[in-house]
Every structure is written in structure tokens, then in C-alpha cells.
């Protein structure tokens, strides 16, 4: 052991007292060595990321220079020139480093877009103001700030307050002519304050606020078999299901701020997502303004998917066209989701028609035994236990 060298290990942080017995000194030394190793491993990791990023930056820069000397006319990826910068040499289509990139290269260029990386978050812990004259790579360091997410976003409080105001202006939440959710307030909010979006139910085509989508679909779609009666009840009360949801006819202003401990306590799943409930209007007609096909929905596949040929893209297009003739369909337009509250809907062709088709029922409906636990030997054990008094089950009922 390196303890032989003295009273401590390599880090020299955990030191035994001078008159300590040998075993004591040894254990201090071992602990100190372990600490050294932990720091060593961490350091190596950071060193690797940083040094490779800087070395690649040096390479990207010299390659760019080499390309620019050919006036951009050459499409040759490896122009036959010799270029030298402070950090690297470009020769015979190869890049060789000069010196240590940790010393020679100060910034980091994104290997993908070749723009400089922002090295500090723009807000929260460790934030620094970015240079306004520089166009940075869009990948930013994540933000660490209480109340905000990694992108520095926050959400309109679901309770009383900002989110409320626009609601109070509305006379009748079920009136389709009332202003679309969020539109009014979106303008006087900072861009990093988001509100909850809405989505279109594929069956009834209504536009539903996301926080009540599940309840709505439960009532709208899940009305078969033994769910039927429950679903019917849901339809009447417009999506209330867990017993904790308010009737839509209640004036919105009165339901939001007040907690409903009574109904929640009794509910098998108290925190029914409607604590975010903003009482979206269940408008029969989706806002026509949002009835647009997502502009990049066709190209986005091409971007990611190597296999995606032009044929596939066309196929997709045809499908989209066909479906949009059949019904009012929307594709998610996430790019302006910040402003628009209406989002989403399936690209599936004519789902409503097919969904109800008996073929699907037959195919899926074949009775299948409930899957037993794979823990083979425990099956017996569990059975024994169950017969005694209790058994283990895998299922927590909470939301």
C-alpha cells in the first residue's frame, strides 16, 4: 500500500493523527487513496469530454478554412490544400493537432451545425449573459432554477391568478363563440410562461383541454361493455369520472380556487388531474385557425429516417390528404405551441370509421388469460400466501 509512504494516501486530505496506531493510519491512508481515485475518475471524465470537444473544434475550424480556400466551388470534401492555424494543420485531407487543444482552442464548436456552443446557462444557477453578437448553436446548457424547467419555462398557474383572468371574461365556457383558450392571455405573458394546450378527441372531434382529455376519452371512447353505463354518466356530467370533478355548468370562477377536500378524500384517486383543470371549452368546432397541416410533418420523417424514400413521403401525403377530406383533422403544430393552445391530432386515416369496425374487435377481443407473474417459483408461494390471508400484487391503485 502506498500507506508506507507516510500517514496518509495520495490525496493527502484524510490524515491520521501522528500518534495514531498503525492500523488507524493505514485505514486513513486507504480512505484517502479511495478519495483520490474518486476524484481521479471524475476528473478524467470531464477532461475527456472537454479535450475531445476542443480538439474537434480545432479540426472543424481548419477544415472550414481549407474549404473556403477553394472558393466554395469545389464539392470535394477533402480539398488538396495545406492550411495551418494556431491549433491544427490541414494537409492531404487530414487534420493534425498542434500542441494541446486545451491551451490552443478556447471555444467549442458544435460538431453538427459548426456554430459555437453556449457554455453557460442563460438563467438560474451559474448563468452568464451570452454575447448578443454571436449566433450560438441551438443546444444550450440546461437551466437549473427553482420553479422553472430545464429550458427555463414555467406554466401558468392552474389555480387562481393569471390563468383565471381570461376565464372570468368568458360568459359561457360552453359557448363555441367565446375566445379560444389561452389566446387572449398569450400575448401579455412572457414567452417562457406556457399554458396547457388542448387536443382534439379523435372520436367526436371536439377540442379538449389536455388536463381533461383522459376523462373525456373515457366517456367518449371507452363506452363499451360494462363501461357503458359509467360512460353514459360521464357524458352527462361531461367527463367527470373520479367523483372529484366539477360539473361544467358551475361557473368557472367558483371552482378553481377552492380545494374540494371532501370529494377528493372520497375518491379512489384523489389527485385526479383536474387540479390543473382550466375548464376548457368543449367547442364543437375546432378553431379554424388551427386547422392547418403541420408544415414540416412531411419533411420531418425524411430528416430522421434514412429509409424514408420519396415514395413513402408521397404515401404519407396522400394519406394526409385523404383523411383531411374525410374529417377535420389536425396535426400537432408544436412549433408554435407556445402561443397556440390547440395542438395535436392523429394523422391516422379515418380512425373513427375503422375504430368501430368489427374486425378490430374480433382480432383483439379474443379472450386472453391474464398474464401471470413470471417469477415462476414464487407462484406457488404467492398462492399459499393468498390462501392464508394476503398476497402480493403488483398493482397500486393510485393515479
Amino acid at each position: 500500500m502506498s500507506a508506507e509512504a507516510g500517514d496518509t494516501g495520495k490525496a493527502g486530505v484524510i490524515v491520521a493523527q501522528e500518534d495514531a496506531p498503525p492500523m488507524n493510519k493505514l485505514s486513513h491512508a486507504v480512505l484517502d487513496d479511495l478519495l483520490y481515485n474518486v476524484v481521479h475518475d471524475l476528473l478524467l471524465k470531464v477532461h475527456r469530454d472537454e479535450k475531445i470537444a476542443r480538439a474537434n473544434t480545432a479540426a472543424i475550424k481548419v477544415e472550414k478554412l481549407a474549404k473556403s480556400t477553394t472558393d466554395g466551388t469545389s464539392t470535394d470534401p477533402k480539398p488538396d490544400v495545406e492550411i495551418e492555424t494556431d491549433a491544427a494543420i490541414y494537409k492531404d485531407g487530414k487534420v493534425m493537432l498542434k500542441g494541446n487543444p486545451l491551451k490552443s482552442t478556447k471555444e467549442i464548436l458544435c460538431p453538427k451545425c459548426h456554430l459555437p456552443r453556449l457554455l453557460y446557462p442563460t438563467d438560474g444557477k451559474g448563468a452568464k449573459k451570452p454575447d448578443p453578437g454571436v449566433i450560438y448553436c441551438k443546444k444550450h446548457p440546461y437551466i437549473e432554477k427553482v420553479g422553472y424547467d430545464i429550458y427555463g419555462q414555467t406554466w401558468v398557474a392552474p389555480g387562481p391568478g393569471r390563468g383565471k383572468k381570461k376565464k372570468d371574461q368568458k360568459l359561457d365556457p360552453n359557448d363555441p363563440s367565446s375566445p379560444a383558450q389561452g389566446e387572449g392571455s398569450a400575448k401579455d405573458r412572457p414567452s417562457n410562461v406556457l399554458s396547457f394546450p388542448s387536443a382534439t378527441c379523435p372520436k367526436c372531434k371536439r377540442c379538449i383541454l389536455v388536463t381533461r382529455l383522459n376523462n373525456h376519452m373515457g366517456g367518449c371512447i371507452g363506452n363499451s361493455g360494462r363501461n357503458a353505463s359509467r360512460a353514459a354518466a360521464q357524458k352527462i356530467s361531461n367527463g367527470s369520472n373520479g367523483g372529484s370533478q366539477n360539473n361544467d355548468n358551475t361557473p368557472p370562477g367558483s371552482q378553481k380556487g377552492t380545494p374540494r377536500p371532501g370529494s377528493r378524500g372520497a375518491s379512489p384517486r384523489k389527485r385526479d388531474g383536474d387540479e390543473f383543470d382550466e375548464d376548457a371549452e368543449d367547442s364543437d368546432q375546432p378553431n379554424p385557425k388551427k386547422k392547418k397541416i403541420k408544415p414540416n410533418s412531411l419533411t420531418k420523417k425524411v430528416i430522421l429516417k434514412a429509409k424514408s424514400s420519396a415514395a413513402a413521403a408521397n404515401f404519407k401525403k396522400d394519406k394526409a390528404k385523404a383523411s383531411s377530406m374525410l374529417n377535420v383533422e389536425q396535426t400537432p403544430d408544436d412549433d408554435d405551441a407556445k402561443d397556440s393552445t390547440v395542438q395535436v391530432m392523429p394523422k391516422k386515416p379515418t380512425p373513427t370509421l375503422k375504430g368501430a369496425s368489427p374486425t378490430k374487435k374480433i382480432k383483439l377481443g379474443a379472450a386472453k388469460p391474464r398474464l401471470p407473474s413470471p417469477a415462476g417459483k414464487k407462484a406457488k408461494k404467492d398462492r399459499d400466501l393468498e390462501s392464508e390471508s394476503s398476497g402480493t400484487m403488483s398493482s397500486p391503485p393510485p393515479r
Partner: protein
């Protein structure tokens, strides 16, 4: 230059890694000079580096940690030593300089990591050629692209491993801003779905499958297909610049339109269990992508669909009749390992003072190392007999999912469910070898620290990928999750995504754990 004993006299000519755009060709000027001397120098350098990596990663750690000082004294150190690339010496940091000036040997390998130190740079250098070898050694245990060793522990004709597009993270031209990190809005008590969706979204195999058009929503005609909904979701997470939360409306409608069995459990009984949703989603996706057969867990069902390739493994239970010593083997597939906590935490509470503290390894040992008594109908004896039964893992999955059974209910008039809050410590890095057939065979043969076993243990090493946590009371609780992206952990709470520390993750009371086999990551 004397050769390391382990180095085979190979006539093979080694090549420096071909130049890549945006990367320098060599780690530093000095390595450039080394590689440009002559083919023989390149050969011996690469051969030596491989031999050193083998001695670091495939032997008893005592070997690379033991150095010989200039005065001949042999010292074994806990802290890193340096293995000379140009001769067989192992040196301490202090002796490294002396050795360099005496022998003009300039390159040394750090014994903890296999990283290369250049004395002339006085810094660690990350050379593309050497680094490729090092990463391969750490990952698969071999230097070549040939199939992994110890195949019997994994699926032999495993397309995930054989199809490089599933593994290489399909470098896309998508924007630098699209990171796959987005929250998912709670659509009204759907946090139990969101946590499972997040864990799927950060599963590298599923991600690469969907991003390489494994199931294309543009060519699939199944109405309300959940696999199409997954495809669309992966696209929106990894191809768009959006940072706002995601509205999983397609998943939700697919869920509501499905009339599979799990649906009844989840909907009718209002049991909003993330584990059940995981099973539901896995079965549904198997059906959309697989052989069409129901994934019956009790059987040895093999299927090549993405879900089977990702999650399914095989268990073998061996039953030994206490009367005639006859042995029966039974093999069955599993989607996940379900570990009971209650009995174990009681048992342990009595024995030790650290009451209620369990480790994941203890739970695994209880299930897959220890044997239990049972009664069974023996064919030899033609009667019911006492038997010992032992279950071990015969085939490990690529992504191991583990459920800690925190929810139990007492049967009776009012089915009251109870939550077991026992903390279970789980590691970032999990070695599954002890719970496999092979591990069992090794431990019963006595200890044998051969090279084979180091490799075997490494091939059974898993890294934590995501954790699903249930917080609060059983009726009123909420689900959150943690997922790892590279080395960074993130906390997902519905639409909110925040940075998380490893300590946050490790101190959480996990309900579901997902581990990915290291050789894939």
C-alpha cells in the same frame, strides 16, 4: 523493445483509424510521430495497448496495480499506476518521469481507466485509434466487431446486436435543439402512463428502432395503432425543436380504443398502476410488431419483435424431488422481474438493526439464488412429493426491467391495498451474473478468478437507465420518474423536466427500475 508476454507474435498489420471529418487524426503530435515511423512501430504500439487493456480489464486488478520501483521494490497501490506502452514496466506516477528520461519511453496507460498519458504533452491524450480500442474493450469485452462472447446468456440471433442501425444512435440531421427531453402533460390522472412513456423514450433500443423507421406510422394501416402513436411520439421528441410539454393524445386514444385485458384492469378497476401500464404497452407493441402470438409469459415464447428483443429474457426453474432426486427443468420467458419486498423486509428486520433497509441485490438473491421448498407431482414417484425449487436467469434481456412489489392487498371484504414503503437501495451499475445459470455454475465450482469470468461478469453488467417512483399514499399518490441521457439525469414530473443529481435518483423509493446492458450503451 521487448514484447509483453501476452502479446501474440502476429503477422497482422494494424491500421491507424481512418480520418473522420471534424476530428483530428491523432491524439497529439507525438502520437502522430509514433504512428508515422514505420509499420512495425505501429503494430507493436497497438499490440501493446491491447495487451495492457486486457490486463487492466480482464485480470485480477492486483496485476496492473502492482508496480516495480527503480530499486526493485514491488509496490501494490490503490491509486492509479502507469503501464509503459513501449516496454512491460508498470510504474508509479513518480517513477514514470525517471523511466521516461532513462528509456525515452513517452507513452503510459493509466491503470484505472486505460487512458493514454503522453509525457511530452504532460497530459492525457485521447487518440481516436486507441480510444476506439478502449471503448470496445470496456463495452463488449472484445476488440473486434465479431459477436459477443457468452452468447448463451443472450439471444444468439439477436437482431438488436447484429443490426448496427439499432445501436449506433442513428445520427440525424435533426436540429441541435431537439434533445428528446420534454415533459408529457397529465391528461387527467395519467401520470402512471407518462412515467412509462418517458422510460420508453429514453430507452436506446426503442429509440433507435423507432427513429430508424422500425414501425412507420406512414405505412401502417391499423387504426389507433399504439405502435404508430409511439412512432409519432418519438418523432416529435427527437425531430422537433419544441420544448413545451407533449400531449400524448394518440397514445391515450390508442389506449382507450384498445380492448385488451390489461385495459380492463387499468380502467374498470381504476387501478392506475405504472407497472400494469408497462405490461399493457409492451404487449400491445409486441402485437403490433411481433409474430401476432400473445406474449404468454408462462411459456417459452420467442419472438423477434422489438419488445421481445428489448425486454424479454428467460428464467429456468429446476425442481428436485426430495424422494427420488429426480430433476425437472422448466423454462419460461419474462418481461420483467417482480421482486416481493414484504417477506424479506420482515425477515431482515428481525435479524439486523438496520430495519427495513433492503438492497436490490438482496431481493434478487432471495428470488434467483436461494431455493425454496414446494410440493409437486413427481413423475418418477408418481405421487406428490416434497421438492426443492430453484429459479435462475437463463437468458438476460438487453433492457432489464425490475418491479419492486410495493403494493399489496389483504383479501377480504373491503379489498384494502397497502403500500410498502421500505427503502430499497439500488446501484447505478448492476452485475447480474450471480443470478444466472452461469453464475450459479461458477460459484458452485468454487472461486475461479480466471479471465473468462472477468469477461463474463462484464458482459452481465447493466447500467441504470430509468427509475419510476410512486410518491405519497397509495390512493392519493403521484408518479414521477428519472431518466438518464448520457451521464446526466433528469427528473420528469408530467410536463415538467428538471435536472437531477445522481443522489436524487439513488435516494428515491423506486417502484420500477430499468437497466440497460452495458455492451449496448
Amino acid at each position: 523493445m521487448s514484447a509483453r508476454p501476452a502479446t501474440p507474435a502476429s503477422p497482422k498489420n494494424y491500421k491507424v483509424r481512418a480520418t473522420q471529418p471534424g476530428q483530428p487524426m491523432y491524439g497529439c503530435e507525438h502520437l502522430q510521430r509514433l504512428f508515422n515511423q514505420d509499420q512495425a512501430t505501429t503494430n507493436t504500439s497497438i499490440q501493446h495497448y491491447r495487451a495492457i487493456l486486457r490486463s487492466i480489464f480482464d485480470t485480477n486488478p492486483l496485476v496492473p496495480q502492482t508496480s516495480k520501483a527503480a530499486d526493485g521494490a514491488v509496490v501494490t497501490s490503490l491509486t492509479p499506476t502507469y503501464l509503459c506502452l513501449q516496454c512491460p514496466s508498470t510504474l508509479t506516477e513518480d517513477d514514470r518521469t525517471k523511466h521516461g528520461s532513462k528509456k525515452s519511453h513517452r507513452f503510459y496507460v493509466d491503470s484505472r481507466s486505460g487512458a493514454l498519458y503522453c509525457q511530452m504533452c504532460d497530459d492525457i491524450v485521447w487518440d481516436p485509434t486507441f480510444e476506439e480500442l478502449r471503448l470496445k474493450k470496456i463495452g463488449t469485452g472484445t476488440f473486434s466487431n465479431r459477436k459477443r462472447k457468452h452468447e448463451e446468456l443472450f439471444e444468439t440471433s439477436d437482431p438488436v446486436r447484429n443490426n448496427p442501425t439499432y445501436i449506433t444512435s442513428n445520427t440525424t440531421i435533426a436540429s441541435c435543439k431537439s434533445s428528446g427531453l420534454r415533459g408529457i402533460y397529465n391528461a387527467g390522472a395519467t401520470c402512471y402512463q407518462n412515467v412509462v412513456l418517458q422510460s420508453f423514450l429514453h430507452n436506446p433500443i426503442l429509440r433507435n428502432y423507432y427513429l430508424s423507421d422500425g414501425h412507420s406510422s406512414s405505412t401502417c394501416n391499423v387504426p389507433y395503432c399504439l405502435s404508430c402513436a409511439m412512432d409519432d411520439m418519438f418523432q416529435d421528441f427527437y425531430a422537433l425543436e419544441t420544448t413545451n410539454g407533449y400531449t400524448a393524445a394518440n397514445i391515450l386514444s390508442g389506449f382507450w380504443f384498445s380492448d385488451r385485458r390489461a385495459f380492463d384492469n387499468l380502467v374498470a378497476t381504476k387501478e392506475q398502476d405504472a407497472h400494469e401500464f408497462f405490461q399493457f404497452l409492451a404487449e400491445e407493441l409486441h402485437e403490433r410488431n411481433g409474430d401476432g402470438k400473445k406474449p404468454e409469459i408462462g411459456s417459452e415464447h420467442s419472438c423477434n419483435c422489438i419488445i421481445h428483443q428489448t425486454f424479454y429474457g428467460k428464467l429456468q426453474s429446476t425442481t428436485t424431488c426430495q424422494n427420488c432426486s429426480g430433476v425437472t427443468h422448466q423454462v419460461q420467458s419474462f418481461l420483467d422481474l417482480n421482486l416481493p419486498l414484504e417477506n424479506l423486509s420482515h425477515k431482515k428486520g428481525k435479524k439486523t438493526l438496520s430495519r427495513g433497509q433492503l438492497t436490490l441485490q438482496e431481493c434478487l438473491e432471495e428470488e434467483y439464488v436461494k431455493s425454496d421448498k414446494c410440493e409437486y407431482r413427481c413423475h418418477n414417484c408418481s405421487s406428490m412429493q416434497q421438492a426443492r425449487r430453484q429459479t435462475t436467469i437463463k437468458r438476460l434481456p438487453n433492457v432489464l426491467s425490475i418491479q419492486l412489489k410495493r403494493f399489496e392487498y389483504k383479501q377480504g371484504r373491503n379489498e384494502r391495498a397497502a403500500k410498502i414503503d421500505t427503502p430499497v437501495q439500488f446501484p447505478l451499475e448492476l452485475n447480474m451474473l450471480p443470478y444466472t445459470n452461469r453464475g450459479r455454475a461458477i460459484s458452485s465450482n468454487g472461486h475461479d478468478g480466471g479471465k473468462e469470468n472477468y469477461e463474463l461478469a462484464r458482459s452481465c453488467t447493466y447500467d441504470l437507465l430509468s427509475v419510476v417512483v410512486h410518491v405519497g399514499e397509495i390512493d392519493t399518490g403521484h408518479y414521477v420518474s428519472y431518466c438518464r441521457d448520457g451521464d446526466q439525469w433528469f427528473a420528469f414530473n408530467d410536463h415538467r423536466v428538471e435536472l437531477a443529481q445522481k443522489s436524487d435518483v439513488l435516494n428515491s423509493k423506486a417502484y420500477l427500475l430499468f437497466y440497460v446492458v452495458r455492451s449496448l450503451s
